[in-house]
Amino acid sequence: MARMVTTQRKVISTVAAWLAGFLIFFPILWMVLASFKTELEAFAIPPSFLFFHWTLENYITVQERSDYVHHAVNSIIIAGGSTLIAMLIAIPAAWSMAFSPTRRTKDTLLWMLSTKMMPPVGVLVPIYLIYRNFGLLDTRAGLIFILCLGNLPIVIWMLFTYFKEIPKDILEAARMDGATIGRELVYVLTPMAVPGLASTLLLNLILAWNEAFWTLNLSTLEAAPLTVFIASYSSPEGLFWAKLSAASTLAIAPILVLGWFSQRQLVRGLTFGAVK
């Protein structure tokens, strides 16, 4: 009897989990499906789920109209560059706050996070003017800079929590063993922090890849990443759902693949603090 109840429960929870997963995944699936439809079918009511004229036409048009590779390269450089710089700043910052906290450490951390509470649009005009005056508009350097600043608080927070998890005893053991701060970092701390570092890196990469507000406002063509590429299909002449979907599918594909292959690392990193 008891076994039957547990089997029943298992079935129910499995179905529920799949349902929830499907619900979350559905918009992406719908986007991918729409990208293979004709413009007419894309907004037909009632919508057709699988039985439509599958076509690659949208992808061809998108590639002809705009240069996917150019935008993709920009995305890689901007997301990668801003992530790398953010990590370089955040590792020592989080390190010092986690291992030599002062009375103001908590306040500093909270202040950093508070910058994320302000809607970016609030500082759009000053930032835009500064960028214009410094010739940073539509440059990769400019976008790397702003995305790096935008994500830095989150990166520092994440690393701080991971570093906090590393037992102090181990660092003290290293000190007793004669490791200097530099060697402690290289031989003890960094290897232990790898899961945390990896998941922070990945999350920041995803955030930077998908960041749309600043990239749309501060770039037009030269430095424009894939977000701009997608947005160009929602134009004043009207929405082209199928083409927009094709562009979006192309834009998220690289990061989706990356996420897929690193999901184990990502999940382990995100639950690093939860289970010891």
């Binding site: 037992p167 181990i170 003290e172 053991a173 000190r175 007793m176 063993d177």
Partner: protein, 334 residues
């Protein structure tokens, strides 16, 4: 050589005085145990000696040299932590070798030393395993291996056995003592377990509230406790304390009698009481006797008397084993 001397060592964290002036002379090659209730400052004192905390005042001499401004690694001490503090990403070999690697020793010398340390601790088959693949006792041995391989002037142990189960603790206790005798290296060992202190130490430092209450050999502490605190802390079960008329008869504010020094009889002329609880351990029996005005006294006797709760007993202290204390709790010596 590993002679350690503390001269008026003080430590405060802000306004809180943790160590209130500690003076201590630890002879080369001796095994000294710091014991005391939690929060007494024993771990802090150890960390001050290690250099993991800075002293607020006083001097710490290692072989005559004041080391208060010397970084931990340069003091020539090694430490075994309560949590083992092994490097989780390194193999046993890597863990033991780390200190030597940091010291820049040549590779073959490191290997030789690591293998020798591993052999001493029966760790040779596990050299290539990661700490997570080891049992608690093995991890503890790796931590000890990491300490001995550097051939330090002294070992510092911070409650190293408290994470082990009871049986393993007894076994490791023996191993640590034997190893220390074999190496002849000075050892300072922190524990809150007075049984560990009594069994392992050449000399015990009893700490309470940041002050050294007494420093002496285990038997000295047992036979001649300096004050009420030491008398109550050393020995298991705890010493019985009696105040009032009975104490005055002996010219003291308080008298103390250890449970093993109370003679238990069914009919006798001693303190009369009723057995409240009898704990039968087989080899001996602990009796908790309700004596009315004297409170509950603990008595210990070897073997069985067939007493059970409710029975009337008489308790007679051995006259030569009565400890006397004055008003301020200090021992009165005749």
């Amino acid at each position: 050589m590993g002679q350690i001397t503390l001269q008026g060592v003080e430590k405060s964290f802000g306004p809180v005085h943790i160590i209130k002036g500690a003076d201590l002379d630890i002879a080369d090659g001796s095994f000294v145990v710091f014991v005391g209730p939690s929060g007494c400052g024993k771990t802090t004192l150890l960390r001050l000696i290690a250099g993991l905390e800075d002293v607020t005042g006083g001097a710490i001499l290692i072989d005559g040299r004041n080391v208060v401004d010397v970084p931990p690694a340069k003091r020539g001490l090694s430490m075994v932590f309560q949590s083992y503090a092994l490097y989780p990403h390194m193999s046993v070999r890597g863990n033991i070798a780390f200190g030597l690697k940091m010291a820049g020793l040549p590779k073959d010398e490191i290997n030789r030393k690591v293998e020798r340390a591993a052999a001493t601790l029966n760790l040779t088959p596990y050299l290539d395993r990661k700490p997570r693949e080891l049992s608690g006792g093995q991890r503890q041995r790796v931590a000890i291996g990491r300490a001995i391989v550097r051939e330090p002037k002294a070992f510092l142990f911070d409650e190293p056995l408290s994470n082990l189960d009871a049986a393993l603790r007894v076994q490791m206790r023996l191993e640590v003592t034997r190893l220390q005798k074999q190496l002849g290296t000075t050892a300072i060992y922190v524990t809150h377990d007075q049984v560990e202190a009594m069994t392992m130490a050449d000399k015990i430092v009893v700490l309470n509230g940041g002050k050294i209450e007494q420093y002496g050999s285990p038997l000295e502490l047992y036979e001649r406790p300096a004050n009420l605190f030491v008398a109550g802390f050393i020995g298991s079960p705890k010493m019985n304390f009696v105040t009032g008329e009975q104490a005055k008869e002996h010219g003291a504010a308080t008298i103390g009698v250890r449970p093993e020094h109370l003679k238990v009889e069914r009919d006798g002329q001693g303190w009369q009481g009723t057995v409240a609880v009898a704990e039968h351990l087989g080899s001996d029996t602990f009796l908790y006797v309700d004596t009315g005005p004297l409170g509950t006294l603990t008595a210990r006797y070897v073997g069985e008397l067939g007493l059970s709760p409710g029975d009337q007993v008489s308790l007679t202290p051995e006259p030569s084993r009565i400890h006397r204390f004055d008003d301020s709790g200090n021992s009165i010596r005749a």
